[in-house]
Symmetry: C2
Subunit: 325 residues, 2 copies
Amino acid sequence: VTNPSLVSPLGPGREFDRIRAIAARLGDVAPALGDDCAFVPATGETIVLSTDMVVEGVHYRPGWLSHEEIGWRAAMAALSDVGAAGARCVGLLAAVSSPHDAVEADLVALMGGVGDAVRHVGGTVLGGDLTASPQWIVSITVVGAAARPLTRRGMRPGDGLWLTGAVGGSRAALTAWTAGRDPGPSARRAFARPEARIAAGRWLAAHGARAMMDVSDGLGGDVPHLAAASGVAVDVSLEAVPVHPAVPPEACSTNEHPAAFAAAGGEDYELLVALSPEFGEKDAERFRREVGLGLTRIGSARDGAGVRFLLAGEPVVIRGFDHFR
Amino acid sequence: VTNPSLVSPLGPGREFDRIRAIAARLGDVAPALGDDCAFVPATGETIVLSTDMVVEGVHYRPGWLSHEEIGWRAAMAALSDVGAAGARCVGLLAAVSSPHDAVEADLVALMGGVGDAVRHVGGTVLGGDLTASPQWIVSITVVGAAARPLTRRGMRPGDGLWLTGAVGGSRAALTAWTAGRDPGPSARRAFARPEARIAAGRWLAAHGARAMMDVSDGLGGDVPHLAAASGVAVDVSLEAVPVHPAVPPEACSTNEHPAAFAAAGGEDYELLVALSPEFGEKDAERFRREVGLGLTRIGSARDGAGVRFLLAGEPVVIRGFDHFR
């Protein structure tokens, strides 16, 4: 469904040929490529923005992902923050740097993955920038909108801490790859094809969520941020943490309890949400039915500061997932 | 003027120590670092967005710029698009990747330059992302707001084509560096310390500008975009083009007419604006007085397509500046 008229007429040049090829792949999910600026008309909502950079060799190794998956994953990782704000997705801007010897088809495939991801959550590619560099670099800025966006601040003593979906799948894939093995299909999919929880975030925002964030640094990294930002202490029961099916065999290989392995793994992009004590299992069941995703109470807040991860009632140390390699 | 309370409380970790150090340098120009998302409250205006990536070794060579200048230049280059839309600056998001062996002070200096630039044009640092890579990478997404933003489309036959400031200074610096010489102070300043024309863009938008864009790819690259997007033919009189004072000596070294040298040079970040035939020298004088910047009529539009650059009445070929190296 290519519509060349969607692209602003451009002068000649190799960069503009590439923009035209990308626009042809993206079709109506990129209605205004080729302009200097993207425009988001006023709707009375607060605009929600977040930016994320993915560097080949740092966030993934060459050979792990197809170019479409590189684009999809970078977009979904950034879009995840829109979900965590309880916002709807307006779209994204993608700055992409490709190696000097990259063929145009790889760039088009990568941007195709970006476009598929943002289409999947109801937004468009608003704009971008193309350049060249020794390795692939994808820098995504996501744009959302919400009447009252949520932040990490707002959890109160007594609130329940809930988690969408299951965690640890991405780390299971990473563990296999770094050990020189190919991850199984479900672990690979968790790493390569994450899904930003936009619909889940909007449901939770509409049903009383008090604070929300995505789990990009792992429960070990992100629960402390939520607790610190909200000014509460949080206890997490590791037994309650839903573990991705790919975790148990990989947790054996690292000699960790599966829930501890999962809680230390990042890049799962599930939502961590504070809900009032009144939000119960019946409400969670309604979420599961309406959103088609798990929602599990994994802990609670109390007066104080700091986070305890409990396994069989005993505190265990869970480190955050370190992106800063 | 550090105010640590401006930063959202963060958990422990090296990345978060760096965010805290950046927040200390930026002070009140970065009121909300440490959150996953930035929020722009609704004002009834259209939101204007643009993204730009700068890669060390591609857009500049190591040793040319201080870290503050890298940040300033990357921010101003991106902010330039907000000016071209005739919008006010809300702020920017900065994703920065630093070499593994970079010291924190260099990262803080770079972000300091970003903060100084956005403060200079009245905005704030809304958010960002930090990662690591073999070389410095700065990806800036700018946010502006305008009741009716301008684009490249809208120039009509008979309109005058005007240019703010003077061009060619950045190319003069590049020419010296690539020849192994140090550029003079004014050429170096044009390259290292460009200024986004935000106030100029707003003045022009308020005084009848019909189409506007910034000159990042040089007149040779950008006038064809403006003409193509507006569906008009454009004649540019090179004799009228205001040439940066650093151009003449460097144009000697490349054996080009100074105006041709300047028109082929990119990254000047001046504004190219279409104004109605009624907009005259008296209006331009008022612009110069009120904005403190030159404004020169360099050409005009007519029915048709394509761009002619004229020198002594004869068409000459002016190539666009190629960022895509």
